[in-house]
């Protein structure tokens, strides 16, 4: 049984706390050690928390539509900070207004995220994916 510490938070100038609480609760219930840095979190705060706690994954939420701008460069900053291989997930209302999902997903994968989730995804799905990515058995 490996390291199950993960960092989660809502990036940028976003104060939407509901989904953030759901993620914290669901991942904790699933056996993860969740470091929740809450809303209004900067890229630097995510990385610092991951380094301090030795986390294996960062889960970024964005609900207010500016996720693309807020997430850009996160993988590169992780590399500079020496945690270039950390697992990065993103999910929520990542772009302004209604858009096709596939191009949005492609954009975030290219930005270096390992997985990307559309609005309305159940935390269960991300939990199952993370367990798979970390080779954790149920």
């Amino acid at each position: 049984m490996g390291n199950k510490t993960i960092v989660t938070g809502v990036i940028g100038a976003d104060v939407h706390a509901v989904g953030n609480r759901i993620i914290e609760y669901a991942f904790t219930q699933a056996g993860f050690n969740v470091v929740n840095i809450g809303v209004l979190a900067s890229q630097e705060e995510f990385i610092q928390a991951a380094i301090e706690t030795g986390a294996v994954a960062i889960l970024v939420s964005s609900l207010y539509g500016h996720g693309e701008i807020d997430c850009r460069g996160l993988r590169e900053k992780c590399q500079e900070a020496g945690i270039g291989d950390i697992i990065l997930y993103a999910g929520g209302n990542l772009v302004v207004g209604k858009q096709e999902w596939e191009p949005v997903k492609e954009k975030f994968l290219k930005m270096g995220f390992n997985r990307v989730y559309p609005p309305g995804t159940s935390p269960d799905e991300a939990i199952a994916d993370l367990k798979r990515d970390l080779n954790i058995e149920d």
């Binding site: 104060v15 706390a17 509901v18 953030n20 759901i22 219930q29 809450g38 209004l40 309305g120 935390p123």
Partner: protein
């Protein structure tokens, strides 16, 4: 600072006042507080918020009020006049922009300048501090109904100074309700202290013959907030305000969606707040209520949005709320056009008029709901009083630390965030996990039973999945999130 729930001296108010007015250049226009008082006294009765609310309360009718605010003065006036004349608003707001809420007046100024250049509002509200005294008076003078300041400002002292001197007769917010749901790192001591200033200022106006109504922000995070939580916050803010000399208060509640729980909540909010103000010696206080139409996610479809708006209007009227804050059919899309804003008002007004002669009669179910809300709210308030060693200001700070008051889904790190609400089988909001709320066994058993009933009906064990399902349910037009 040593935070205590004790009325400030006029000297303390006036000494801090100097610093406050110096934080932006428009502050100097209101230095002469007597001039503001004189202006307020010159207002006709139809501009006095408290008078209109008390008249409605006496008649048993529900007034309608929109949210609205744009960057520039003339455009803001045109918007308010449209909502008054076309929408039939009984009460008007000036919703303040996000920069002003963060006291970032430089950025608000840029927003004003860019709005002038581009010919459309680039701010999401009316920057009252930047526009200053005379412009704010033009707003008040351009309409025939009372105007309230609605915002979300943790430090709302300068905004209060300018808008009150300008003839606004109602002021929304509070040291708890404009902190915990809106901020992450601002301490409760700081915001409660800053709101003591605002309340003391209104108390000073009162001592000089001017009635300003005060409205704590009721819905908090707007997501599955049990009535006892929002009631406890509202009543603590009412007590803190009353101590500073506020005499007219409108306490708020955000629609949960279950009719019986919503009616019980409105009735108990009135009853409990009167009880507690009296109990703690605040005589001659006047309480009215405000019901917020559905604060959760809205359907994208306008027809469906009208359904949600109308149900809020019906509930407000049947629950005899003194006023109802109205949503618009554009809610899911962001800031509404003035036409959509008026449409929300008109749908609401239709129901307020049609249902004004009706109430929900007392039944076993309504009585039970009222009893449980009262027990829970009293348990929280009494525990806050105790932990504060007889002081509600100290008590609310320590209470949040201890989790004996706890707002679900709030972003603030000063909030414990340990309770988990979920809907019962009839859609009423109960507690799946009561965290550290100071509830006795009987209350805890009640919640357990109610959630278990739903679990039985759905053939599953109560779990966090229910909370998730309830939050997702709204997007599917349902109140209770059932498994497929």
């Amino acid at each position: 600072m040593d935070l205590v729930n004790k009325k400030w001296s006029v000297d303390k108010l006036m000494s801090i006042r100097k610093e406050v007015l110096a934080t932006w250049h428009t502050g100097k226009d209101v230095e002469d507080i007597e001039e503001g008082i004189k202006y307020q006294k010159s207002l006709p009765k139809n501009k006095i918020f408290a008078a209109k609310l008390l008249e409605a309360k006496e008649k048993g009718i529900t007034l309608v009020q929109p949210r609205a605010g744009v960057a520039l003065v003339n455009e803001h006036i045109a918007l308010l006049q449209y909502l008054q004349n076309e929408g039939g608003a009984d009460l008007l707001p000036s919703t303040i922009d996000s920069y002003t809420r963060q006291n970032r007046y430089e950025e608000a100024q840029k927003g004003i300048e860019e709005s002038i250049k581009s010919g459309r509002s680039l701010l999401n509200g009316f920057p009252a501090v930047n526009h200053g005294l005379e412009n704010c008076r033009r707003v008040v003078e351009s309409v025939n109904v009372p105007v309230q300041v609605r915002h979300g400002t943790p430090d709302a002292r300068l905004l209060a100074e300018i808008t009150l001197a300008a003839g606004f007769t109602d002021y929304e917010g509070g040291g708890i309700s404009y902190n915990i749901p809106y901020a992450k790192n601002v301490s409760l001591e700081k915001t409660i202290y800053d709101w003591q200033y605002v309340d003391r200022l209104i108390g000073f106006y009162y001592e000089n013959g001017v009635i300003i109504n005060r409205e704590p922000f009721g819905p908090l995070t707007g997501t599955l907030v049990p009535p006892c939580i929002s009631h406890a916050v509202a009543i603590v803010e009412a007590i803190l305000a009353a101590e500073q000399g506020v005499h007219y208060l409108t306490l708020g509640y955000g629609q949960c969606g279950n009719l019986i729980q919503d009616v019980a909540a409105l009735q108990t909010l009135q009853e409990l707040s009167e009880e507690y103000l009296q109990k703690f010696g605040y005589e001659n206080r006047h309480i009215t209520t405000v019901f917020h139409q559905w604060m959760g996610g809205f359907p994208q479809d306008e027809a469906k949005a009208f359904g949600v708006i109308s149900w809020g209007a019906a509930t407000a009227t049947l629950g005899k709320a003194t006023k109802v804050i109205v949503k618009t059919p554009h809610e899911a899309m962001g800031i509404p056009t003035k036409e959509a804003n008026a449409q929300g008002l008109k749908a609401t007004k239709q129901l307020v008029n049609m249902l004004k002669d009706q109430t929900i009669p007392l039944s076993k179910e309504l009585e039970e709901e009222k009893e449980i809300i009262k027990k829970e709210t009293r348990a929280i308030l009494d525990a806050i009083f105790k932990i504060g060693e007889g002081d509600f200001a100290k008590g609310i700070v320590r209470g949040f630390e201890a989790g004996i008051i706890d707002i679900p889904f709030a972003p603030s790190r000063y909030n414990a965030g340990r309770i988990l609400p979920a809907r019962d089988n009839n859609g009423a909001i109960r507690l799946l996990d009561a965290g550290d709320l100071p509830f006795d066994k009987e209350i805890l058993e009640y919640h357990k039973k109610k959630i278990q009933e739903r679990g039985d009906a759905e053939g599953r064990e109560p779990s966090f999945q229910m909370v998730i399902d309830d939050i997702y349910a709204i997007g599917k037009g349902m109140l209770v999130g059932r498994p497929n």
